[in-house]
């Protein structure tokens, strides 16, 4: 299997007032193509910082982060933006659906920034994939929380990413909707999509092929 993501001795420090916080403290991690990884740990353990680094929204203080063999530490903002647009799909706890766009338009939104010309068909396919083919013209205010998260997953897939990063994707959902999301993740992973999930949801964490436990910026198990 190819290594999609490789972190070598990654350190991330930042200042909070006069205090220096060691958010990530010398992490080594390899994630292979098609892997389903969950990251768990207590609050403040560095889960989100790790996701930021893997998602190219932050750079390490030291160490190396490679995505598809590209060393991201030396990349400029514009190049990081391109990687985020083409290689990574994001799913957030808060959905971030634009309230004035329909479900279909929300799914299409990332193509605006990659300048991909679409004819809606892929967005429709993705809405069908997440079971929302009948909701494409609904505004977010007309959808349930679970449906909104499914639209957000479809949106994360629109640019055909290699990696899906999900930050507490079931954090705002009831158990029934959380189960639907987990099922979708499993199906996507069966189709070789690399999925990394930060979660407090034990069931979701257990449905991953591998789980890493973070504490004080360090991985406790590999």
């Amino acid at each position: 299997m190819n290594k999609t993501i490789e972190l070598n001795n990654v350190v991330k420090r930042y200042r909070r007032g006069t205090e220096e916080v060691h958010a990530i403290d010398g992490i080594n991690l390899s994630i292979e193509e098609g892997e389903f990884l969950s990251i768990v740990g207590p609050s403040g353990s560095g889960k989100t910082t790790l996701l930021n680094l893997i998602g190219c929204v932050d750079k390490p203080t030291s160490g190396s982060v490679k995505l598809d063999t590209i060393e991201v530490r030396s990349l400029k903002d514009r190049e990081l933006t391109k990687i985020r647009a083409k290689i990574i799909g994001f799913v957030f706890q808060q959905f971030f659906l634009l309230p004035t766009l329909t479900a279909l338009e929300n799914v299409e939104l990332p193509t605006l920034f990659t300048r991909k010309i679409t004819n809606n068909s892929r967005a429709r396919e993705l809405l069908t994939l997440v079971g929302l083919e009948n909701r494409e013209n609904h505004l977010p205010s007309q959808l349930s929380g679970g449906e909104m998260q499914r639209v957000a997953i479809a949106r994360a897939l629109i640019n055909e990413p290699k990696i899906l990063l999900a930050d507490e994707p079931t954090g705002n959902l009831d158990s029934q909707n959380a189960q639907i999301i987990m099922d979708i993740f499993r199906r996507l992973n069966q189709n070789s999509l690399t999925i990394i999930v930060v979660t407090h949801n034990i069931e979701l964490a257990q449905s991953a092929k591998r789980t890493i436990y973070l504490k004080d910026g360090k991985i406790l198990n590999q």
Binding site: N52, V57, F90, L98, T100, T111, R155, N159
Partner: protein, 386 residues
């Protein structure tokens, strides 16, 4: 989906806020269009009015040239008079094509509700007024009168009717009625010069002489030749336009000051709206950065939202400007020291384009800071869960 449709849909989030901002821009746009239309329209109306007089040079007694010239056009009294013989002398000056004499008096009605303007004219005046079409005929005798079209309409009189003029307590027979000139002439009573001289006790006197020249390129030379005549003052029509424009300059400056304030208030309102929207959407911008939006994309989005507001406000404002231009025209007239008869507000496609350009440029300038703030949003904003 396009950036424009996204920007437009974003404006629908806070409908009331968006609507109030658009109203502000519409008021500013309407004011801008009206003032720019006035700027162009006033000069044109003034020039048309002067061309309508058919006069290139005004000859009067020494005094304020502006006063003399404006009185010839608008009516009014000058306490000093030219002798009638000056008219013949003027006609003989080299380069003079036509010359006509005027004796002008304004008389308030007994109840003081209006002022009647009387023009004693020589027949030469007909040659100076190529646009005059008289229904009926020239004066038949000393009791004849020619009415301006508005006067005839107001008094409901026709050719051959008798008219009693209360302000001078005299009855005339209407020999002719001027067809509408769309100038000041529409509001005058025209009398034979001798009648006017006799009635106003100014036998052998004229208020002024209007002169038409053969070649306007020779105007300066002809003016110098006329100035040799004793006690006369010669004012070219062009100079009169300049003088009047100078006189109106103060009003214009006031209008531009008001415009500046209106534009500033509206642009600050716009800045406030966009800035508030930008602050509220920092997390959303962070999310957009996560899904591939570059800093330039966010700048573009905010500037398009700003431009959409300006465009909508502009279109509404310009429409109102057009619809209410007659009302605004009437309102502005009260504040001007000299008002030509023609339309003062003349909005044209060019003026609309210039106004729209100004509104868009100012709007985009107001959107620059919020756009810059939006572009600074970190993608980490979206991932942070607190």
């Amino acid at each position: 989906m396009t950036f424009f449709s996204l920007a437009f849909k974003n404006l629908k989030r806070h409908k009331i806020r968006t609507m109030l901002t658009i109203i502000g821009i519409a008021i500013a746009s309407s004011t801008l269009l009206s003032i720019l239309s006035f700027d162009a329209g006033y000069k044109k109306a003034l020039e048309e009015e002067l061309v309508g007089t058919g006069i290139h040079l005004f000859v009067s007694t020494e005094g304020c040239p502006l006063e003399a010239a404006s009185l010839i056009i608008r009516g009014g009294e000058i306490p000093r008079f030219l002798p009638m013989k000056n008219l013949e002398e003027v006609k003989k000056v080299e380069g003079v094509k036509e010359a006509g004499g005027f004796l002008i008096f304004s008389v308030p009605s007994p109840d003081g509700s209006k002022v009647d303007l009387f023009y004693g004219i020589t027949q030469d005046v007909l040659k100076l007024k190529p646009n005059w079409k008289i229904k009926g005929s020239w004066f038949k005798d000393e009791n004849s009168i020619i009415l301006g079209s508005e006067i005839a309409k107001l008094e409901k009189r026709d050719v051959g009717d008798k008219i009693y003029i209360q302000s001078i307590d005299k009855e005339f027979v209407i020999s002719g009625i001027l067809e509408r000139t769309y100038g000041q002439d529409d509001g005058f009573y025209f009398l034979p010069i001798e009648t006017a001289q006799k009635y106003f006790k100014k036998e052998g006197k004229l208020t002024a002489i209007g002169v038409q020249v053969w070649d306007i390129m020779e105007m300066e030379k002809i003016k110098s030749r006329l100035e040799i005549l004793p006690d006369v003052y010669v004012v070219p029509a062009e100079q009169m336009t300049r003088e009047i424009l100078k006189l109106v300059g103060g009003t214009k400056a006031l209008m531009y000051s008001i415009l500046f304030i209106v534009l500033m208030v509206s642009i600050l309102g716009l800045l406030n709206t966009i800035l508030m929207a930008t602050f509220e959407r920092q997390k959303e911008f962070g999310f957009l950065r996560c899904v591939g939006a570059g800093r330039g994309d966010l700048i573009k989005l905010i500037l398009l939202e700003t431009a959409s507001l300006c465009l909508l406000g502009g279109v509404i404002g310009f429409s109102f400007g057009f619809i209410f231009s007659t009302g605004i025209d009437q309102w502005i007239r009260q504040f001007l020291p000299y008002v030509p008869a023609g339309s003062l507000l003349r909005p044209s496609p060019n003026i609309v384009m210039v106004s729209l350009g100004i509104v868009l440029i100012l709007g985009i300038l107001a959107g620059l800071y919020p756009a810059w703030r939006a572009s600074k949003a970190s993608p980490m904003e979206a991932i942070r869960n607190e």
